[in-house]
Symmetry: C2
Subunit: 194 residues, 2 copies
């Protein structure tokens, strides 16, 4: 699959700089802060260059989302290739920055068809990779579960990690320590070895 690896292979320097600036802006100040002038200022470039590299602001945002979903797939593939894939998956999913960006993009995509489609496709692919990993881990550990429960379980893990990050960034941590302990206890049972 040539589109998952080498995400920024042939990206001109300034184009990449603009996307990086847009990503930082979105993360720090929200998607509404991603404007022509502010993106350019952050990249240390002239605003007109934004229109040279991108057809429109909508296109820049879509390209940004595409880059992020592709990067997410690359990272997840690396995560799942580790000795304890579920443990590493849990750590990655509860990583604040990566998930915070996802949430902002989801709010953005809520009202832009093309972006929503890209996010949905990205989410489906990630979920499939995750379910496969959980399924293998269950088999390996001897706790062979049926497909139905595996599916549901992955959904629970994905949901809890996401909301943990959302609430943490909000300043709400009620129940977090307890649910973390619960999940980590479960993961330890699945991946017990060193």
């Amino acid at each position: 699959m040539t589109d998952t690896a080498q995400v920024n292979a042939d990206d001109p320097v300034n184009r990449k700089a603009l996307l990086d600036a847009a990503e930082r802006l979105m993360l720090e100040e929200g998607y509404a802060a991603v404007t022509t002038r502010r993106v350019a200022a952050r990249a240390g470039l002239k605003p007109q260059l934004v229109h040279y590299y991108f057809e429109s602001m909508d296109q820049l945002l879509l390209d940004l989302v595409r880059r992020a979903t592709a990067h997410g797939r690359d990272t997840l593939a690396r995560v799942l290739a580790s000795p304890k894939p579920l443990r590493r998956l849990w750590e990655w999913s509860t990583d604040t920055e990566a998930t915070a960006l996802q949430i902002e993009m989801m709010a953005l995509g809520n009202h832009r068809k093309a972006i929503r489609a890209e996010l949905a496709d990205g989410a489906r692919r990630l979920r499939r990779m995750q379910v496969d990993a959980l399924s293998e881990a269950l088999e390996r550990s001897g706790i062979v579960d049926d497909v139905t429960r595996t599916d549901a379980l992955m959904m629970v893990l994905a949901s809890v990690s996401r909301v943990l990050v959302m609430e943490k960034s909000l300043g709400v941590t009620a129940g977090h320590r307890n649910v973390r302990a619960l999940v980590e206890h479960y993961l330890d049972r699945l991946e017990s070895g060193s």
Copy 2:
């Protein structure tokens, strides 16, 4: 508690109309669409009236969030007063519109201190009410669990319902049917009677 009941008691008609318009706009087109002119246009009023009723757009947004959190508390109180509080809570939490608005406001609050504080306070209060309800239900059903697990369990329920709604609005439904069945089976065990 005078602040939880009668949320819009002494609200002038046009002020309420503006808040309603802002809420619909935020829901349908995102927080970036909540501008002076568009809010006014949707309410069928002149843009200048926005500034008459609200000190600034930031203040309008904050007032909107306050009204929504207060309304959420009222609704939750009613939900939890029903014969099957957990079942009704689950139904309410997986209701698309109410949760979609919460998500949009969370994205908005991510970058505005006052709004984030209001959302955090609102979320903490809701969670406390929910944990209490779950705790009571566990006791009533005889499945008396320790505080630690009750806390974690409520966090799981809240997380799954929220992500179910987020993903559904995105068009992703992988694992939804299965996790719903899992949760509903559990809730049935807790609240078995008619």
